[in-house]
């Protein structure tokens, strides 16, 4: 049984005309054919060459014939099932369904000072529990909730993170790649019968490095879902124009998609829009800005036109606090994502850029997800909802609708009641301590954390497998010299302490 997600019952928002779509598509194919993409992997170069691409082995440049690109677009499935640890959390990506997913940040924040700090292991597990308990979180992706936690060496952040997610949520999860950790990720996922989604991130402009390609080979060969992405910054690693950055980014993503189809035809691919404009004062990405939404809307139109599901709507605010700016920055991106048909939208939990996450923020964001999900369902227009008879019966003033059966039946369907917002009148609000949405969300967060339990928990043998694989990863990286003596010492102390509930 799969989780339904939100079905969009109307046509998506289109921001490009048919002609503009065609121009962007032609330009993308032109770039793939003429400029090409650099792949720093002999194995990949051979694969491309074998399938009709022009390959320059000196510059590692691959130039793609149009026919091959079009063929691979056709081969990639346009709707597909993905398996979570608990089949009730399975999803179908593609078409007009939308799911929401948590959005990670490097560290947690103090909700008074707003300063970031590294979370503890306990906070890490608790945050995953909260995400598992939130109604509208369908995916708990890589690096979620945070990039790591105290006492673990950076190189173990991904394996420990995935282990924590597989233990504390039965929702669909994902894993990234770094230093070959996908080897362990794949094993852990297989041990608990879950599938993974892993990105194949271009290094813009127009480059894929060896580590990325190696990881992609492994993920595709394991039969998991690949997410090619660009991550370009327009004005920096892509042209400053939205149209130009779409061309450049799409060329990168398309190259990744072709790669996947050549390795294993029929590979499930979801195209991600993770591009941002460049902040031309600081050089950082301009998180939260309007151009992200325009880019995303066009991206969705293009890739849905290709019949490929999309991931995007990356709702990173630039604000460091849970405040007005964060609210509008996230709301705009999420709303455009939903209206333009993004299949998986990133929202719950993130604060500034990729640098902060808090479960209280996730609780608040879950309401936005619920609201937008309700919007996507649209409205029913039929005799009953048109209510002409009821209007006639009630008539003008002093008539009213409060006591009508029609009202009792319909009011709840036409509203969305959020769980963490202030819905009081002014006098009630004053009396009840002037609670804003943060105060309400804190209470709800604590409630979920203390009452919610993952369903089902791992079996004993699954738990043993996970622990064994994590241990293997530790020893692997230690042997490779990627964990220093001090790091190892602190790590071992942590594992031996009461902090560590496993093993």
């Amino acid at each position: 049984m799969a989780v339904k997600g939100f079905v969009r019952n109307m046509k998506p928002l289109d921001v490009l005309t048919g002609e503009q779509l065609e121009e962007i598509h032609s330009a993308t194919l032109h770039v793939l054919r003429k400029t090409g993409v650099r792949f720093d992997s002999t194995r990949a170069l051979e694969l491309f060459e074998k399938n009709g691409c022009r390959v320059n082995h000196d510059t590692n440049r691959v130039r793609f014939p149009e026919g091959l690109v079009e063929e691979c677009l056709r081969k990639a499935p346009s709707r597909f099932h993905v398996r979570a640890r608990n089949p009730e959390n399975d999803m179908v990506w593609g078409g007009n369904t939308t799911y929401f997913q948590a959005l990670s940040g490097m560290r947690t924040v103090d909700l008074n000072t707003w300063e970031p700090r590294t979370p503890t292991r306990e906070e890490y597990y608790d945050a995953i529990t909260v995400l598992d308990g939130l109604e509208n979180v369908s995916i708990v992706p890589w690096y979620t909730p945070w990039f790591g936690f105290k006492h673990i060496p950076p190189v173990m952040a991904m394996p420990e993170g995935l282990a924590a997610r597989l233990r504390n949520t039965s929702k669909f999860t994902c894993a990234g790649y770094s230093m070959g950790c996908e080897l362990f990720n794949i094993q852990m996922a297989q041990a608990v019968g879950a599938e993974l989604r892993t990105m194949m991130a271009a290094s813009p402009p127009l480059t894929f490095y060896e580590e990325t390609i190696d990881a992609a080979f492994r993920i595709v060969e394991a039969g998991f879902v690949l997410l090619p992405t660009s991550g370009s910054v327009y004005g920096g690693t892509a042209p400053a124009t939205i149209a130009g950055s779409l061309v450049s980014g799409n060329a990168e993503i398309m190259a990744g998609l072709v790669f996947a189809q050549l390795v294993r035809p029929g590979t499930r691919v979801i195209a991600q829009d993770f591009s941002f404009p460049q902040n031309m004062r600081t050089g950082a990405p301009a998180f939260g800005s309007m151009e992200i939404s325009l880019h995303q809307a066009a991206f969705n139109q293009i890739w849905h036109g290709y019949g490929i599901p999309t991931d995007g709507g990356v709702c990173y605010p630039n604000s460091k606090k849970i405040d007005y700016q964060a609210g509008y920055e996230k709301a705009i991106i999420a709303t455009i994502g939903a209206l333009s048909g993004t299949n998986t939208i990133w929202i719950q939990g993130a604060l500034y850029g990729e640098l902060a996450f808090h479960p209280v923020q996730a609780v608040i964001d879950d309401d936005i997800a619920g609201m937008l999900g309700r919007f996507l369902q649209g409205i029913e227009v039929n005799d009953e909802t048109l209510a002409v008879g009821v209007i006639d019966e009630v008539g003008p003033i002093p008539g009213h609708y409060l006591n009508q059966p029609h009202t009792r039946k319909w009011w709840k369907k036409e509203q969305f009641i959020p769980r963490a917002s202030d819905r009081l009148t002014h006098p009630e609000w004053l009396k009840q301590g002037k609670k804003d949405c943060i105060a309400i969300a804190k209470e709800r967060c604590e409630q979920i954390r203390s009452c919610h339990r993952v369903s089902p928990p791992l079996t004993e043998s699954q738990e043993q497998d996970i622990e064994r694989i994590v241990k293997e990863a530790r020893n692997f990286y230690r042997k490779k010299g990627l964990i220093s003596d001090i790091e190892w010492e602190n790590y071992q102390k942590d594992i031996a302490s009461p902090n560590y509930p496993y093993g």
Partner: protein, 225 residues
Amino acid sequence: MTDEQKGIIENLRKAIFEYNAKLAKESATQAIEKGIDPVEAMNVMTVAIREIGDAFEKGELWLPDLVGASDAMQAASPVLEEEMKRKGLQKESLGTVVAGTVFGDIHSIGKTMVTTLLTAAGFHVEDLGVNVKAEAFIEAIQKHGADLLAMSALMTTTMAEQEKVIEALKREGIRERVKVMVGGAAVTDEFAEDIGADGFEPTAPGAVELAKKLLGRNTEERAKK
């Protein structure tokens, strides 16, 4: 200075303000042909870059302007440097910087912004690219007599590599010879201090100021001598 020479100097300055790499290179070539002191020609460009930097600070110009100006200067510099070498003249420099993105990390745009702006500001920069191992940093520092090491790491998994490079410098006995600055979206003040770096800056323009500060407040006076 003849009128013709003045005209060439004016073009060199104009090339920087108009971000015109072609004009900058042509003017540099003409400057040499017409007997203009290459050091003076270089100074003209440095002053222009500084004015553009001031305008950036005031909010009148932006990063693409800084980078455009420095690209124009970098088109002209090799021509003038070649002439200075031929004449046995010392190229003025605020210091030599070895820069790179650490091993395991392939993000380059941040590092590229910093190296571009450092060059424009008057530093000599050896950019080692991405995925640079500690040994390669050490070799470059020794080969070029670097005053400053600038390392970039964008991911938490690769930040730790910056500490490894600093440890390697200590093992080689050259830690005291070179200042170390670190950067990258995930890097923080606390992390930089913990690993023993001399400084950290989150923005590209800020990195240039930090570089100047780390190499001594009188770097500009030293360069002018």
